[in-house]
Symmetry: C2
Subunit: 186 residues, 2 copies
DNA sequence: CACTTGCAAGTAAATGCTCACATACCGCCA
DNA sequence: TGGCGGTATGTGAGCATTTACTTGCAAGTG
């Protein structure tokens, strides 16, 4: 079996557990049952490996949000779509998702803001809904942050082991109601 | 002027910017305009320094939540108190607060759960309110996470520079309404 | 053969931390 | 008051270890 996917999995787990700076190439190699040199056959540096994994998660989540939210109309449906996007990403690869969640701030300097990150996407949805009077007025940046916070903090607490082993989607109905309530609250 | 407080400030800034593992003792010393050795006159290790700072922030926030929420009655007032506690902590020392916010997961293994962390405190408030039928039933762990997420994600986006330079408390009314909406939503 | 993938041993640089030494501070008693 | 000793504080060169990464070689593949 090829080493590359094994290294990716191992790196993901180690990065999620120890952070990018706390992770060592030795640990990653050991976990993948591969020599350290093997890593450098496929990536130029530890950081390139980390960035690649992070961007994959980032893109996956952004794509899901765009697809789910773009397919429906009305605030309630958009809220449900947002929750569904996060839950799908979390359920289909929890390690990748939690790595993205917990290490976000490490990579902020890297990703160019092409407006395709989750926060900006949600901001735009909210702005549009406010224009159409489907939502009461208010700073869209703050409203977006609060709505996303409902989901991400729940996911974080799950990552911290405070919510048991249920999939994130087990809490989707509750989160959907809460996101919608946040959007409408003022 | 004594070096200890200067080191604490410098460490806080460097930890917040680079993370605990990414921060070097050399950088901290340089920023504090102090020799590296001076750090070790006051702390046994870099980690001890980091843990000390983190715990100070952790305790401050927990104390504020306990005090503010303990002084009022009713769900609406408790929600306002929670927001006020976070805003006070953030406004009185933003560097300390954002360090605590962004590096939380690094210190999770350390703090013994004596039930005095912010999440547990909020969970207990919610449980009690549900018992008294002031809130609709639901998993208190998830409801607490969602309510806190409204505040922490807003703070995180501010830390990421997405909300301008206003104090966190500038958004307190909006956050209070949102937290209350989350608590009641189902 | 050409090319990719993997290994084991190694390298230079960096990191956290120490230690011998210097200086500032402070109570104490003549 | 002023000199004295003990302690707390700060220095910076230096140490052992760890780190990311490299390199020469071998085996698999087509």
């Amino acid at each position: 079996m090829s080493a590359k996917p094994r290294i990716e999995r191992a790196a993901l787990e180690v990065f999620a557990a120890h952070g990018v700076d706390g992770a060592t190439t030795k640990l990653i190699a050991a976990r993948a049952e591969v020599s350290e040199g093997a890593i450098y056959r496929h990536w130029k540096s530890k950081d390139e490996l980390a960035i690649g994994l992070f961007m994959a998660a980032h893109k996956r989540l952004s794509d899901l949000i765009e697809a789910e939210a773009g397919a429906v109309h009305g605030v309630a449906a958009k809220a449900a779509a947002l929750v569904k996007a996060y839950c799908t990403a979390a359920d289909e690869d929890w390690t990748l998702f939690s790595f993205h969640l917990l290490q976000l701030h490490h990579f902020l300097p890297y990703y160019q803001d092409d407006g395709r990150d989750p926060v900006t996407l949600v901001e735009m949805i909210i702005k549009y809904a406010m224009m159409k009077m489907e939502l009461p007025p208010g700073d869209p940046r703050v409203v977006a942050a609060m709505a996303i916070g409902v989901i991400t903090q729940t996911a974080q607490n799950k990552a911290y082991g405070r919510l048991g082993d249920d999939a994130l989607s087990a809490h989707a109905p509750l989160m959907t109601a809460a996101v919608l309530a946040v959007l409408k609250a003022r």
